[in-house]
Protein backbone atom coordinates (compact mmCIF):
# COMPACT_ATOMS: atom_id res chain seq x y z
CA UNK A 1 0.00 0.00 0.00
CA UNK A 2 1.12 3.52 -0.66
CA UNK A 3 2.84 5.37 2.19
CA UNK A 4 3.63 2.15 4.04
CA UNK A 5 7.33 2.89 4.02
CA UNK A 6 6.69 6.37 5.33
CA UNK A 7 4.64 5.02 8.21
CA UNK A 8 7.57 2.74 9.04
CA UNK A 9 9.74 5.83 9.41
CA UNK A 10 7.29 7.43 11.80
CA UNK A 11 6.99 4.24 13.81
CA UNK A 12 10.74 4.04 14.05
CA UNK A 13 10.85 7.58 15.39
CA UNK A 14 8.16 6.77 17.91
CA UNK A 15 9.82 3.59 19.13
CA UNK A 16 13.13 5.30 19.70
CA UNK A 17 11.99 8.33 21.57
CA UNK A 18 14.82 8.37 24.08
CA UNK A 19 17.71 7.50 21.82
CA UNK A 20 18.98 8.70 18.50
CA UNK A 21 19.22 5.68 16.19
CA UNK A 22 21.09 5.56 12.94
CA UNK A 23 19.69 7.78 10.21
CA UNK A 24 17.62 5.54 8.00
CA UNK A 25 18.97 6.64 4.61
CA UNK A 26 17.52 3.62 2.86
CA UNK A 27 13.97 4.11 4.01
CA UNK A 28 14.06 7.85 3.44
CA UNK A 29 15.20 7.21 -0.13
CA UNK A 30 12.44 4.63 -0.61
CA UNK A 31 9.84 7.16 0.46
CA UNK A 32 11.31 9.84 -1.78
CA UNK A 33 11.27 7.38 -4.66
CA UNK A 34 7.64 6.53 -3.94
CA UNK A 35 6.81 10.24 -4.00
CA UNK A 36 8.33 10.54 -7.45
CA UNK A 37 6.49 7.45 -8.72
CA UNK A 38 3.17 8.72 -7.41
CA UNK A 39 3.78 12.07 -8.98
CA UNK A 40 4.70 10.43 -12.26
CA UNK A 41 1.46 8.36 -12.19
CA UNK A 42 -0.57 11.50 -11.63
CA UNK A 43 1.03 13.34 -14.54
CA UNK A 44 0.44 10.37 -16.83
CA UNK A 45 -3.25 10.19 -15.84
CA UNK A 46 -3.64 13.91 -16.28
CA UNK A 47 -2.15 13.69 -19.73
CA UNK A 48 -4.40 10.78 -20.77
CA UNK A 49 -7.72 12.15 -19.57
CA UNK A 50 -9.16 15.59 -19.64
CA UNK A 51 -9.85 15.55 -15.93
CA UNK A 52 -9.28 19.17 -15.02
CA UNK A 53 -12.22 20.46 -17.08
CA UNK A 54 -14.66 17.54 -16.74
CA UNK A 55 -13.91 15.24 -13.79
CA UNK A 56 -17.47 13.80 -13.85
CA UNK A 57 -16.78 12.12 -17.22
CA UNK A 58 -13.86 10.14 -15.85
CA UNK A 59 -14.77 8.99 -12.34
CA UNK A 60 -12.21 6.17 -12.30
CA UNK A 61 -9.08 8.17 -13.15
CA UNK A 62 -10.35 11.02 -11.01
CA UNK A 63 -10.56 8.77 -7.95
CA UNK A 64 -7.14 7.38 -8.78
CA UNK A 65 -5.59 10.82 -8.89
CA UNK A 66 -7.26 11.71 -5.62
CA UNK A 67 -5.85 8.65 -3.88
CA UNK A 68 -2.40 9.27 -5.33
CA UNK A 69 -2.51 12.81 -4.17
CA UNK A 70 -3.53 11.89 -0.65
CA UNK A 71 -0.69 9.37 -0.50
CA UNK A 72 1.74 12.04 -1.65
CA UNK A 73 0.66 14.32 1.14
CA UNK A 74 0.86 11.53 3.67
CA UNK A 75 4.37 10.67 2.53
CA UNK A 76 5.40 14.28 2.86
CA UNK A 77 3.94 14.54 6.31
CA UNK A 78 5.68 11.38 7.51
CA UNK A 79 9.03 12.42 6.06
CA UNK A 80 8.83 15.78 7.80
CA UNK A 81 7.73 14.20 11.06
CA UNK A 82 10.66 11.80 11.01
CA UNK A 83 13.21 14.51 10.35
CA UNK A 84 11.70 16.98 12.77
CA UNK A 85 11.63 14.41 15.53
CA UNK A 86 15.33 13.79 15.05
CA UNK A 87 16.08 17.49 15.03
CA UNK A 88 14.41 17.88 18.42
CA UNK A 89 16.62 15.12 19.79
CA UNK A 90 19.74 16.76 18.37
CA UNK A 91 18.69 20.10 19.83
CA UNK A 92 18.35 18.51 23.24
CA UNK A 93 21.94 17.24 23.05
CA UNK A 94 23.16 20.64 21.91
CA UNK A 95 21.67 22.31 24.95
CA UNK A 96 22.68 19.66 27.44
CA UNK A 97 26.21 18.87 26.33
CA UNK A 98 27.05 21.58 23.84
CA UNK A 99 27.35 18.99 21.06
CA UNK A 100 26.08 15.61 19.96
CA UNK A 101 27.98 12.88 21.87
CA UNK A 102 30.91 11.38 19.96
CA UNK A 103 29.45 7.88 19.96
CA UNK A 104 26.24 9.11 18.31
CA UNK A 105 27.88 11.15 15.55
CA UNK A 106 27.93 8.23 13.07
CA UNK A 107 24.15 8.00 13.48
CA UNK A 108 23.59 11.44 11.99
CA UNK A 109 23.13 12.19 8.33
CA UNK A 110 25.52 14.75 6.89
CA UNK A 111 22.74 17.34 6.86
CA UNK A 112 22.02 16.65 10.50
CA UNK A 113 25.66 17.16 11.37
CA UNK A 114 25.53 20.53 9.62
CA UNK A 115 22.34 21.34 11.47
CA UNK A 116 23.86 20.58 14.87
CA UNK A 117 26.83 22.86 14.16
CA UNK A 118 24.63 25.70 13.00
CA UNK A 119 22.13 25.25 15.81
CA UNK A 120 24.99 25.38 18.26
CA UNK A 121 26.10 28.69 16.78
CA UNK A 122 22.56 30.10 17.11
CA UNK A 123 22.57 29.06 20.77
CA UNK A 124 26.00 30.60 21.28
CA UNK A 125 24.92 33.86 19.65
CA UNK A 126 21.99 34.04 21.99
CA UNK A 127 23.67 32.95 25.20
CA UNK A 128 26.63 35.26 24.66
CA UNK A 129 24.21 38.09 25.52
CA UNK A 130 23.88 36.74 29.04
CA UNK A 131 27.38 36.30 30.31
CA UNK A 132 26.39 36.18 33.98
CA UNK A 133 24.30 33.03 33.74
CA UNK A 134 24.88 29.72 32.08
CA UNK A 135 21.66 29.15 30.14
CA UNK A 136 22.54 25.59 29.26
CA UNK A 137 22.95 24.29 32.79
CA UNK A 138 20.35 22.29 34.60
CA UNK A 139 16.75 23.45 34.61
CA UNK A 140 16.12 21.92 38.03
CA UNK A 141 15.94 24.35 40.90
CA UNK A 142 19.18 24.51 42.94
CA UNK A 143 18.99 23.06 46.46
CA UNK A 144 22.49 23.54 47.79
CA UNK A 145 25.27 25.74 46.50
CA UNK A 146 27.74 22.96 47.40
CA UNK A 147 27.45 19.33 46.46
CA UNK A 148 29.34 16.11 47.07
CA UNK A 149 30.70 14.52 43.92
CA UNK A 150 32.63 11.40 43.02
CA UNK A 151 35.03 11.41 40.09
CA UNK A 152 34.26 8.69 37.52
CA UNK A 153 36.92 9.59 34.95
CA UNK A 154 40.14 11.53 35.39
CA UNK A 155 39.62 15.11 34.36
CA UNK A 156 42.75 16.88 35.51
CA UNK A 157 42.68 20.11 37.46
CA UNK A 158 39.82 22.54 37.57
CA UNK A 159 39.80 26.06 38.89
CA UNK A 160 37.31 26.77 41.67
CA UNK A 161 36.79 29.77 43.94
CA UNK A 162 39.20 28.23 46.47
CA UNK A 163 41.95 27.56 43.99
CA UNK A 164 42.91 24.52 41.96
CA UNK A 165 41.36 21.12 42.64
CA UNK A 166 42.69 17.93 41.11
CA UNK A 167 39.92 15.58 40.11
CA UNK A 168 41.48 12.13 39.92
CA UNK A 169 39.46 8.99 39.44
CA UNK A 170 37.50 7.62 42.42
CA UNK A 171 38.23 10.59 44.65
CA UNK A 172 35.41 12.45 46.35
CA UNK A 173 35.05 16.20 46.71
CA UNK A 174 32.75 18.80 48.16
CA UNK A 175 32.55 21.60 45.61
CA UNK A 176 30.45 24.47 44.30
CA UNK A 177 27.70 23.06 42.14
CA UNK A 178 28.15 25.69 39.44
CA UNK A 179 31.87 24.87 39.12
CA UNK A 180 31.36 21.23 38.28
CA UNK A 181 27.89 21.03 36.77
CA UNK A 182 29.08 20.75 33.18
CA UNK A 183 31.40 17.88 34.14
CA UNK A 184 28.46 16.03 35.70
CA UNK A 185 26.45 16.47 32.51
CA UNK A 186 29.28 15.07 30.44
CA UNK A 187 29.55 12.03 32.67
CA UNK A 188 32.95 12.73 34.26
CA UNK A 189 31.57 13.20 37.75
CA UNK A 190 28.71 11.75 39.70
CA UNK A 191 26.60 13.70 42.13
CA UNK A 192 26.29 11.77 45.40
CA UNK A 193 22.98 12.43 47.09
Amino acid sequence: MYADQAVKLVKEAKKTQDILPEYNTELVRDVQREIRTLHHNITVLLRQYDIRSSPQNHPGPFASIFIHHQSLRRNKRCLLAYHYHRLKKIEEFCWELGHVPQELLPNLSSQETDFSTEYQSIINDYTSNFTGIDLSSSLDPPKDPYIEIRVLKDCGEIYTENGLVTLSKNSQHYLRRTDVEHLINEGYLKHIQ
Binding site: L80, H83, I122, D125, F130, I133, L135
Partner: protein, 213 residues
Protein backbone atom coordinates in the same frame (compact mmCIF):
# COMPACT_ATOMS: atom_id res chain seq x y z
CA UNK B 1 7.81 60.38 43.33
CA UNK B 2 11.02 60.88 41.44
CA UNK B 3 12.49 62.59 44.46
CA UNK B 4 11.54 59.72 46.72
CA UNK B 5 13.12 57.19 44.52
CA UNK B 6 16.40 59.08 44.37
CA UNK B 7 16.44 59.46 48.10
CA UNK B 8 15.88 55.80 48.69
CA UNK B 9 18.10 54.45 46.02
CA UNK B 10 21.18 54.16 48.19
CA UNK B 11 19.64 53.06 51.46
CA UNK B 12 17.03 50.75 50.02
CA UNK B 13 19.06 48.82 47.52
CA UNK B 14 18.10 45.57 49.16
CA UNK B 15 14.35 46.04 48.98
CA UNK B 16 14.62 47.18 45.40
CA UNK B 17 16.43 44.04 44.46
CA UNK B 18 13.87 41.89 46.21
CA UNK B 19 11.00 43.52 44.41
CA UNK B 20 12.75 43.10 41.06
CA UNK B 21 13.23 39.45 41.79
CA UNK B 22 9.60 39.05 42.79
CA UNK B 23 8.46 40.80 39.63
CA UNK B 24 10.59 38.52 37.52
CA UNK B 25 9.27 35.52 39.43
CA UNK B 26 5.72 36.57 38.57
CA UNK B 27 6.66 36.88 34.89
CA UNK B 28 8.34 33.52 35.07
CA UNK B 29 5.32 31.79 36.62
CA UNK B 30 2.94 33.44 34.16
CA UNK B 31 5.20 32.46 31.29
CA UNK B 32 5.37 28.86 32.43
CA UNK B 33 1.63 28.57 32.90
CA UNK B 34 0.47 30.29 29.76
CA UNK B 35 0.12 28.48 26.44
CA UNK B 36 1.02 31.69 24.59
CA UNK B 37 4.23 33.74 24.55
CA UNK B 38 3.92 36.74 26.86
CA UNK B 39 5.68 40.09 26.41
CA UNK B 40 9.36 39.97 27.33
CA UNK B 41 10.23 41.26 30.80
CA UNK B 42 12.99 43.83 30.49
CA UNK B 43 14.02 43.33 34.10
CA UNK B 44 16.31 40.53 32.95
CA UNK B 45 19.16 42.88 32.13
CA UNK B 46 18.77 44.91 35.34
CA UNK B 47 18.90 41.74 37.35
CA UNK B 48 21.99 40.54 35.53
CA UNK B 49 23.71 43.80 36.44
CA UNK B 50 22.64 43.49 40.05
CA UNK B 51 23.97 39.95 40.14
CA UNK B 52 27.30 41.16 38.87
CA UNK B 53 27.49 43.85 41.55
CA UNK B 54 26.58 41.29 44.18
CA UNK B 55 29.27 38.87 43.09
CA UNK B 56 31.83 41.68 43.27
CA UNK B 57 30.75 42.35 46.84
CA UNK B 58 31.17 38.68 47.66
CA UNK B 59 34.57 38.66 46.05
CA UNK B 60 35.59 41.71 48.12
CA UNK B 61 34.40 40.19 51.41
CA UNK B 62 35.93 36.84 50.67
CA UNK B 63 38.79 36.80 53.14
CA UNK B 64 37.25 38.94 55.87
CA UNK B 65 36.19 36.61 58.68
CA UNK B 66 33.95 33.69 59.54
CA UNK B 67 30.80 35.81 59.66
CA UNK B 68 31.46 37.24 56.23
CA UNK B 69 32.07 33.77 54.87
CA UNK B 70 28.72 32.62 56.22
CA UNK B 71 27.00 35.67 54.84
CA UNK B 72 28.65 35.09 51.50
CA UNK B 73 27.35 31.57 51.38
CA UNK B 74 23.79 32.75 51.96
CA UNK B 75 24.21 35.43 49.31
CA UNK B 76 25.64 32.89 46.92
CA UNK B 77 22.70 30.59 47.44
CA UNK B 78 20.23 33.41 46.86
CA UNK B 79 22.12 34.38 43.70
CA UNK B 80 21.99 30.82 42.46
CA UNK B 81 18.23 30.91 42.92
CA UNK B 82 17.84 34.15 41.02
CA UNK B 83 20.04 32.79 38.27
CA UNK B 84 17.90 29.69 38.14
CA UNK B 85 14.76 31.76 37.66
CA UNK B 86 16.41 33.85 34.96
CA UNK B 87 17.66 30.77 33.20
CA UNK B 88 14.36 28.98 33.41
CA UNK B 89 12.47 32.08 32.28
CA UNK B 90 14.64 32.54 29.21
CA UNK B 91 14.67 28.86 28.36
CA UNK B 92 10.90 28.56 28.71
CA UNK B 93 10.55 31.39 26.24
CA UNK B 94 13.04 29.81 23.85
CA UNK B 95 11.10 26.56 24.06
CA UNK B 96 7.92 28.32 22.98
CA UNK B 97 9.74 30.35 20.36
CA UNK B 98 11.14 27.19 18.81
CA UNK B 99 7.77 25.48 18.93
CA UNK B 100 5.90 28.39 17.35
CA UNK B 101 8.78 29.77 15.26
CA UNK B 102 6.87 29.42 12.03
CA UNK B 103 3.78 31.11 13.43
CA UNK B 104 5.73 33.99 14.94
CA UNK B 105 7.61 34.44 11.69
CA UNK B 106 4.37 35.08 9.84
CA UNK B 107 2.76 37.27 12.52
CA UNK B 108 4.53 40.54 13.01
CA UNK B 109 2.30 41.22 16.04
CA UNK B 110 4.30 38.64 17.93
CA UNK B 111 7.55 40.42 17.31
CA UNK B 112 6.57 43.08 19.84
CA UNK B 113 6.50 40.47 22.57
CA UNK B 114 10.03 39.25 21.93
CA UNK B 115 13.32 40.85 22.84
CA UNK B 116 15.64 41.82 19.98
CA UNK B 117 17.80 38.83 20.68
CA UNK B 118 14.84 36.50 20.70
CA UNK B 119 13.74 37.84 17.32
CA UNK B 120 17.17 37.05 15.89
CA UNK B 121 17.05 33.61 17.47
CA UNK B 122 13.58 32.93 16.12
CA UNK B 123 14.43 33.99 12.58
CA UNK B 124 17.68 32.06 12.41
CA UNK B 125 16.05 29.02 13.92
CA UNK B 126 13.16 28.98 11.49
CA UNK B 127 15.44 29.43 8.50
CA UNK B 128 17.74 26.68 9.73
CA UNK B 129 14.95 24.16 10.36
CA UNK B 130 13.25 24.95 7.07
CA UNK B 131 16.50 24.57 5.16
CA UNK B 132 17.20 21.27 6.84
CA UNK B 133 13.71 19.83 6.31
CA UNK B 134 13.77 20.93 2.71
CA UNK B 135 17.17 19.47 1.97
CA UNK B 136 16.64 16.17 3.71
CA UNK B 137 13.04 15.42 2.77
CA UNK B 138 11.56 17.46 -0.02
CA UNK B 139 14.37 18.49 -2.32
CA UNK B 140 13.55 15.77 -4.83
CA UNK B 141 9.78 16.02 -4.45
CA UNK B 142 7.54 17.77 -7.01
CA UNK B 143 7.35 21.53 -6.53
CA UNK B 144 3.74 21.62 -5.37
CA UNK B 145 4.70 19.45 -2.40
CA UNK B 146 7.68 21.53 -1.36
CA UNK B 147 5.82 24.22 0.54
CA UNK B 148 6.76 24.15 4.22
CA UNK B 149 4.33 26.86 5.26
CA UNK B 150 0.94 25.34 4.51
CA UNK B 151 -1.68 26.59 6.97
CA UNK B 152 -2.12 23.19 8.60
CA UNK B 153 1.63 22.80 9.10
CA UNK B 154 2.07 25.91 11.21
CA UNK B 155 1.91 25.13 14.91
CA UNK B 156 -0.09 27.75 16.79
CA UNK B 157 -0.43 28.35 20.51
CA UNK B 158 -3.68 26.80 21.76
CA UNK B 159 -5.43 29.75 23.35
CA UNK B 160 -8.43 27.63 24.40
CA UNK B 161 -6.29 25.74 26.86
CA UNK B 162 -7.52 25.91 30.46
CA UNK B 163 -5.34 27.73 32.97
CA UNK B 164 -5.54 28.33 36.69
CA UNK B 165 -5.55 31.96 37.65
CA UNK B 166 -5.91 34.13 40.72
CA UNK B 167 -7.83 37.38 40.45
CA UNK B 168 -5.87 40.31 41.88
CA UNK B 169 -8.63 42.92 41.97
CA UNK B 170 -12.42 42.92 41.77
CA UNK B 171 -13.38 42.70 38.12
CA UNK B 172 -17.15 42.31 38.46
CA UNK B 173 -19.21 40.08 36.18
CA UNK B 174 -17.38 38.86 33.12
CA UNK B 175 -18.84 37.07 30.11
CA UNK B 176 -16.87 33.98 29.17
CA UNK B 177 -17.30 32.42 25.74
CA UNK B 178 -17.61 28.65 25.65
CA UNK B 179 -16.52 26.39 22.83
CA UNK B 180 -19.89 25.90 21.08
CA UNK B 181 -21.15 29.43 21.10
CA UNK B 182 -22.36 29.13 24.68
CA UNK B 183 -21.40 31.77 27.16
CA UNK B 184 -21.59 32.12 30.89
CA UNK B 185 -21.10 34.88 33.37
CA UNK B 186 -18.49 34.60 36.09
CA UNK B 187 -18.02 37.03 38.94
CA UNK B 188 -14.29 37.61 39.26
CA UNK B 189 -13.74 38.63 42.86
CA UNK B 190 -10.41 39.56 44.32
CA UNK B 191 -8.28 36.61 45.51
CA UNK B 192 -10.59 34.01 44.01
CA UNK B 193 -9.01 31.24 42.00
CA UNK B 194 -10.55 30.02 38.76
CA UNK B 195 -9.85 27.54 36.05
CA UNK B 196 -10.77 29.25 32.79
CA UNK B 197 -9.88 29.22 29.15
CA UNK B 198 -6.70 31.17 28.58
CA UNK B 199 -8.43 33.23 25.92
CA UNK B 200 -11.01 34.50 28.42
CA UNK B 201 -8.45 36.02 30.77
CA UNK B 202 -5.79 36.97 28.23
CA UNK B 203 -6.56 40.69 28.36
CA UNK B 204 -6.73 40.73 32.18
CA UNK B 205 -3.36 39.01 32.33
CA UNK B 206 -1.89 41.65 30.07
CA UNK B 207 -3.21 44.39 32.35
CA UNK B 208 -1.89 42.60 35.42
CA UNK B 209 -5.38 42.08 36.88
CA UNK B 210 -5.00 38.33 37.17
CA UNK B 211 -1.99 36.08 37.64
CA UNK B 212 -1.53 32.49 36.54
CA UNK B 213 -0.83 29.67 38.95
Amino acid sequence: MEYDRENNSTSNDDTEEISDVILLMKSWINERCSPDILPYNNLVNDLLEQLEVQSEIIEANKNENVNAAFQNMLCQQEMDRVKFILRNYLRTRLYKIEKYANYIYHNSAYYERLSDKEIIYCEHYKELVDAHLFKSSLETAPTFLQNLNEPNMIVKPVLDEPVFCRVKEDLGDVQIQGSQGTSLTVTLKKNNIFMLRYKAIESFLEEGKVELL
